[in-house]
Amino acid sequence: MVVKKDIADLIEQHPIFLGLERRYLEFIAACATNVRFDEGDYLFREGDPADTFYVVRHGSVVVEIFVPERGGVPVQVVGEGDVLSWSWLIPPYQAQFDARCATLTRAIAFDGKCLRGKCEQDHDLGYELLKRFARIMIQRVRATRIQLLDVYGHGRAR
């Protein structure tokens, strides 16, 4: 099927899945669909059950925290090729932030709930996925810490 081949190709080449065994790639492809969001749509909101993760194909998504008197405060913008959401893999499987589309966005949505179940049965797969997602998380934490440094400010956060 054209659609599935398209997804399968992308999965095979994407850094997060690179090197996974063929049977795992096929399983993951079977859990994936193409999705599309309009500008302003929310992929998920803080507190939502995190049962889906995404690879953005086109467009940009703002990861933000809602601060009541300030509205949504962006902490990061995720774009083409980026992975969105790791909360699907770690309990309590709850979205920690809001994800709002800043533009028309096309992405591949992966059924995290299904994959979680598979990981529970097949720990080899689980370990592989955890390693890959952990790498993303580490990158984000490092980036966040550098952001915290407020390197452009005066050092004394005011």
């Binding site: 925290i65 809602f66 009541p68 309590p92 915290l148 407020d150 004394r156 956060a157």
Partner: protein, 283 residues
């Protein structure tokens, strides 16, 4: 003064009780603790968590939590952070100046409900001010409560409130005090990181704990989530909310959160009751 008492034949915002500033302590660059003594009759009793409307002459009123000791007689104590015109005017007061006070208003922290339980106080920034009276109440009858933890987070070491007291509290064996800052800059500081990180490390029995959380709403939201994950039931978690308050007595309509008036149904709310309203954005 008798004549002022008589003038409460008008709406409450038409009434104020003059207080003289008898003490000004600069806590940080933008925060001041004021000691106020009423002109004339004694100060009314208050419960931890309540607030007064403080009036700065010619500038206006602001709702400020009481930060003093409810168990002892003495001046009325308020810790004010300069964030607007009224609070800035209050922060510029000097000894001998006179301000207006209306109150106390609002629902208190559930100190009685916590009897027999472990107590966790989670404070973010200026949020320590409305919780300090609670700590005084807990310490005044210490044996009625289990383990008491104070978890306090603020932006930088320069923003710490009540430094002297923090040292004293840390020295007590019947109190666990953990302080953390978001940014430590050059100064060495024991704990750097958000206050939520302190929660899983605190010693409390989640089945028998009452938690009271105060600070910016985002901080409260994330702290409560941490407490829930640790197993504290939503019915035993309390937060103190802040909304635009103009009259303090439920007549001006400004402080509404859905059907609740934060000035009289709050500011202290039980999390299980208020969470559904807080989930609705821009309610």
């Amino acid at each position: 003064m008798a004549e002022l008492a008589e003038r409460s034949d008008r709406a409450f915002p038409a009434f104020l009780r003059p207080h003289t500033v008898t003490g000004v302590e600069r806590e940080t660059a933008d925060t001041v603790t004021l000691e106020l003594v009423p002109v004339g009759s004694g100060r009314p009793a208050f419960a931890a968590g309540q607030f007064n409307m403080l009036y700065a002459f010619g500038v206006g009123e602001a709702a400020i939590s009481i930060s003093g000791d409810p168990t002892r007689a003495g001046p009325l104590v308020h810790t004010v952070r300069a964030v607007g015109s009224v609070s800035s005017a209050l922060c510029s007061l000097r000894r001998g100046d006179v301000v207006g006070v209306r109150g106390p208003f609002g629902t208190p922290w559930p100190v009685e409900e916590a009897a027999g339980c472990d107590v966790v106080l989670v404070a973010g920034g200026i949020g320590l001010a409305p919780l300090r009276p609670t700590l005084y109440e807990l310490l005044a009858r210490r044996s009625r409560f289990g383990r008491v933890s104070v978890l306090y987070g603020t932006r930088t070491p320069a923003d710490l409130l009540y430094r002297g007291e923090l040292r004293q509290w840390r020295g007590r064996f019947d109190l666990d005090v953990e302080v953390t800052v978001d940014h430590a800059a050059a100064e060495h500081f024991d704990n750097v990181g958000v206050v939520t990180r302190l929660i899983p490390r605190a010693a409390f029995d989640p089945d028998e704990t009452v938690a009271m959380v105060c600070g910016p709403e985002v901080m409260m939201r994330f702290s409560v989530r941490e407490l829930l994950v640790c197993g504290v039931p939503a019915e035993r978690i309390f937060v103190s909310l802040e909304r635009s308050m103009r009259c303090g007595v439920g007549l001006c309509g400004h402080c509404q959160l859905g059907p609740r008036f934060v000035c009289k149904d709050g500011p202290v709310f039980r999390w299980s009751e208020i969470a559904p309203l807080l989930e609705i954005r821009e309610l």
